[in-house]
């Protein structure tokens, strides 16, 4: 594979990532958002595989495998399990109108690309357009968390946000140290576990969505 081919593939995957991110932002049902974030993780695993083939870096294969197993299969499965377990009646509840969210999302994407074209030499250190896509995904994940009131949607936003970081980290030409990636994945799993426990505990004691509680003020 030539360097141009890899650039093209990474850019194509970046476009798919942004598309799935828009699906998450738009999703009116929580299960669709979960499928979209699973697809997003799958694209990132593919990107890891492509980069591994190109650079011959064995670590990247491991990272791609872990991403596939944890973020594309395990976490979405856990989220679906919680959805069934909680018997979610309400779906995604936006705080601001969908149209406004979309406008914000587009602005974020444009600004990310604008920001990273202003960087000179760094563009060699990170393959293709992985940097602007990564920044856009990270910020859009936070946007999803900020504009939705349900706990599960906030978790989906968090995973999408972390996908953006993983994508950029993979595309750093020299690759990230394997042990760091494993540690980060482990932390993500543990955080998801604790969040799930919190959601279920609140559901079992007061029959409310944890993100909806707002007694603590002032």
């Amino acid at each position: 594979m030539s360097a141009e081919t890899v650039h093209t593939i990474i850019d194509d995957l970046g476009a798919l990532l942004l598309f799935s991110m828009i699906l998450i932002v738009m999703a009116s049902q929580i299960s669709r958002a979960i499928y979209a974030v699973a697809a997003q993780s799958l694209f990132i695993a593919i990107a890891g595989g492509v980069l591994a083939m190109f650079t011959g870096n064995v670590d990247l294969w491991v990272i791609a495998g872990v991403t596939l197993a944890v973020k594309a299969i395990m976490l979405p499965w856990v989220l679906h399990w919680v959805v069934r377990r909680m018997n979610v009646r309400r779906e995604v509840e936006p705080v601001i109108p969908d149209a406004a969210t979309i406008v914000l999302a587009v602005a974020v994407v444009v600004m990310s690309f604008d920001l990273s074209t202003s960087l000179g030499t760094v563009r060699q250190a990170i393959t293709g357009n992985a940097l602007p896509v990564g920044i856009a995904l990270t910020v859009l994940g936070v946007l999803v968390m900020a504009t939705r009131k349900t706990a599960l949607t906030q978790m989906v936003g968090l995973f999408a946000s972390e996908n953006g970081i993983f994508f950029t980290a993979m595309a750093v030409t020299q690759g990230m140290p394997l042990i760091i990636e494993i540690g980060v994945s482990l932390d993500v799993i543990l955080a998801a576990l604790v969040m799930t426990i919190l959601v279920l505990r609140v559901r079992s004691t007061v029959d409310a969505d944890i993100a909806d509680l707002d007694r603590l003020r002032g």
Partner: protein
């Protein structure tokens, strides 16, 4: 010897945490708790003397320099004080049903796991390990914040884990960007080590480091409680069990500050010191201003202390932002002073809440009549927190102020002084009403138990000593730590 200790240090709280799980006996649990913390403190002192004589110690991903040592010493002192305080605190908490006796050991195991992750945060030389340990502190402490299991605690825990996890996602992104810039210069191997990055920092691309530092500042700033990312802090500090509140406010938010300082030094070397210090100055000012009105109108004593921590983190950021050796020295001294004093204040608040069975400051009245020692200590802590001489915080605030005057930041100083004066009045009004006057009917009349008092007196002694004089060895440590930051 020193190198081996670097590995042993994080293992001590880990082993202590595991030992907790082997027993159900309350006395044994308390003994392990205090014992583990004491061993950690002693080994840290041994390591401290080695670093003082032989310079920084490095072993693999761990490295302890004078800067880290300042934070590590604060951590072990607070851990020891918290352990002593907890002996009596949890006995009372079990009696009133705030803590369930059967789940006690998991509480203690989590506290020590929390301490272990903070030790790794401080010792980490590898910026990736720093991030992993920081997320580890979030996970362990989130469970502790929701430990009482009631609705408010769970709400606070959720807000905490969501806000700080988003926050440190940004921190990770910043770390990746700094790594990309460093790997571009020196190749992948070792490009995550802070020491290695510092050696080549002047040659790094300033554009990407600038973006990376902003991501890190916002990210770890959320964890440090800098406004406007502080929204989790008052909730978490007020809902957590009191010993955990003391650890959160005393040392956890300082660990995040240490992470920011590490990136500040990289950024200062790569794009000049003006950029990171101005960014810190802005966040510091916002924090001081935002916290003030909430301190004035607060009725919940632990929320009051939480908002007050936002103000003081802001002051540390201001000290770093004014920069120079005076400002940085003042900021580091303030980290220690605030850590000790705020933990003491939380201890006193915990004792008051247990006695009056309420956290509303309108109910807690006339503490002097029913608990003279705790009342004296809370007055001392409040005077110190408000910045009156001869207490320690007065000195560090004065140093920060002097640095600001030296740099000619007149507007920042005017805002800072105005807020400090307002908070001074507000805080002393609140605490004065609690300590003096006739006790309300809700006040418990039983005598004061020794164990919380010993923990409180330990911190009070350090607070008073640091106000009167800074011991030569500690002064030397702070000087060398300042050199690490300023260069």
């Amino acid at each position: 010897m020193g190198e081996t200790l670097l590995w042993i240090l994080p293992l001590i709280p880990t082993v202590t945490a595991l030992l907790m799980l082997t027993t159900r006996d309350r006395r044994i649990i308390s003994a392990i708790d205090v014992g583990g913390s004491a061993v950690l403190a002693v080994l840290t002192l041994v390591l401290a003397s080695e670093v003082a004589t032989g310079g920084p110690r490095v072993l693999g991903i761990f490295r302890l320099d004078d800067l880290g040592l300042v934070f590590l010493l604060l951590l072990v002192v607070l851990t020891l004080a918290v352990s002593i305080y907890t002996v009596g605190w949890f006995r009372q908490a079990v009696e009133v049903g705030n803590m369930k006796a059967e789940s006690l050991r998991s509480y203690f195991a989590l506290v020590h796991a929390f301490v272990a992750t903070m030790v790794v945060t401080i010792l980490a030389d590898n910026l990736g390990v720093l991030w992993i340990a920081m997320e580890g502190t979030t996970i362990t402490s989130a469970v502790l914040i929701g430990y009482h299991g009631h609705q408010h605690g769970l709400e606070a825990a959720w807000k905490y884990i969501i806000v700080t996890t988003i926050g440190i996602s940004f921190g990770l992104f910043g770390t990746v960007l700094v790594y990309a810039a460093a790997a571009d210069v020196m190749g992948g191997a070792g490009a995550m080590s802070w020491l290695a990055i510092m050696k080549i920092a002047p040659t790094l691309d300033p554009g990407i480091i600038r973006i990376g530092f902003i991501f890190v500042l916002v990210g770890y700033g959320a964890k440090a409680g800098l406004a406007p990312m502080h929204l989790w802090l008052p909730d978490a500090h007020s809902q957590a069990p009191t010993p955990v509140s003391a650890l959160l406010s005393g040392i956890l938010i300082k660990c995040a500050l240490l992470a920011i300082i590490r990136f500040q030094t990289i950024s200062a070397a790569a794009c000049g010191s003006a950029f990171p210090t101005e960014a810190l100055l802005v966040f510091g000012l916002i924090s001081v201003v935002v916290a003030t009105p909430f301190i004035l109108v607060q009725h919940d004593i632990k929320r009051l202390l939480g908002y007050h921590s936002v103000e003081h983190v802001g002051i540390v950021a201001l000290g770093l932002g004014f920069g120079g050796s005076v400002g940085t020295y003042g900021a580091l001294l303030h980290v220690v002073n605030h850590g000790i004093t705020k933990a003491l204040a939380f201890f006193c608040a915990g004792a008051a809440i247990a006695r009056y069975n309420s956290r509303d400051m309108r109910v807690i009245r006339g503490m002097f009549a029913v608990a003279p020692v705790a009342a004296t200590l809370i007055m001392l802590a409040a005077l110190s927190l408000a910045g009156t001489p001869p207490f320690s915080i007065f000195i560090s605030e004065l140093l920060v102020l002097r640095a600001g005057i030296g740099q000619g930041h007149w507007i920042a100083i005017a805002i800072f002084l105005a807020m400090v004066v307002v908070i001074f009045a507000g805080l002393l009004h609140h605490v004065g009403a609690m300590a003096f006057g006739g006790p309300t009917a809700a006040a418990g009349r039983e005598g004061e138990a020794w164990s919380p008092l010993v923990g409180m007196l330990l911190l009070a002694a350090i607070m008073v000593v640091l106000g009167l004089t800074i011991p030569a060895s500690f002064d030397g440590l702070l000087q060398r730590a300042t050199e690490v930051v300023v260069g």
